[in-house]
Symmetry: C3
Amino acid sequence: MKSITEYLTFKVPKRMDFVHITPDVERIVKKSGIQEGLCLVNAMHITASVFINDDEQGLHADYEKWLEKLAPHEPIKQYRHNATGEDNADAHLKRQVMGREVTVAVTEGRLDFGPWEQIFYGEFDGRRRKRVLIKIIGE
Amino acid sequence: MKSITEYLTFKVPKRMDFVHITPDVERIVKKSGIQEGLCLVNAMHITASVFINDDEQGLHADYEKWLEKLAPHEPIKQYRHNATGEDNADAHLKRQVMGREVTVAVTEGRLDFGPWEQIFYGEFDGRRRKRVLIKIIGE
Amino acid sequence: MKSITEYLTFKVPKRMDFVHITPDVERIVKKSGIQEGLCLVNAMHITASVFINDDEQGLHADYEKWLEKLAPHEPIKQYRHNATGEDNADAHLKRQVMGREVTVAVTEGRLDFGPWEQIFYGEFDGRRRKRVLIKIIGE
């Protein structure tokens, strides 16, 4: 069994945004030399997500609006978590909707994706340095 | 390490519906000969889900109603994504709630499930041909 | 390839609650002797979750309030599933928001976590005996 572990670092300027990371993950799959295996990609921070969806700006705007409706940032004081001095309780909620991680099949040395699948880092409490982990195991 | 990769194809007649796929996945586990490992089952399309829950028609009706409330299909124009000519922005949102994938333990050659766990394909923008990937690695 | 499979058992006294299980998972990682691999942790019941977030009581209260708003327990009869004699349809919905499972990288013999990541068992229909599965594969 082979394995590879790498980390990506982000400091997203906006509070909420989505960053396309498929090329980073593809580069690591290639570097690993793994032909058949599983590739885990996860946010290492609990106010961020990794998810797979469409690389389309209109849809990303829809996600922002929808998540803000499901778990509004304001008023800050509606959340008990924010009594700790934080203002990011909503980001912990948004991240649960969008998910922490994806596991992707690696087949014949490549991410085994459908036609529109792309991997995104979802930031819900930006302007802080955060990391994503990529780990692939296989042969 | 052994691995197997298979694909299921669906063309669901309704816009939203749930298809029970546990028997398909069990068949592939058996075919693989893998005794101990991990089994990834994921939608390859970004307006569909794979999830694990109860095989109960009333619950599925509850999911449909609830998802329609959280992310309504109409009005189409409330979503920027639909300005691309699509009408399926809501399906991209619903899929995030229900999830893209499940990873299931394979133990002693079988899906290691609790008493009520069943695997479903969740379709949110049907009447199109779509695929599910099953990949198992282990020994 | 090595693998280990273990089960945790819970009987949570409240209907909804969150139980910190990181120490249990760490113990199993150590016991396995696996240095590089993937660790799956999943609820084996369909009205419960396993998720990764902050070990902060205020946030957990926020999750309870938020989930109750997204998928209210009452009125019981709003859900078709409850016509089966159950009263837990809301728990099946809440579990989809919080997720069934997490997959965690094992690197150099340890859970490869960001600074605040902790694993929780999320119970949405307590006062019943339920299990969580931990399976690690790797080398």
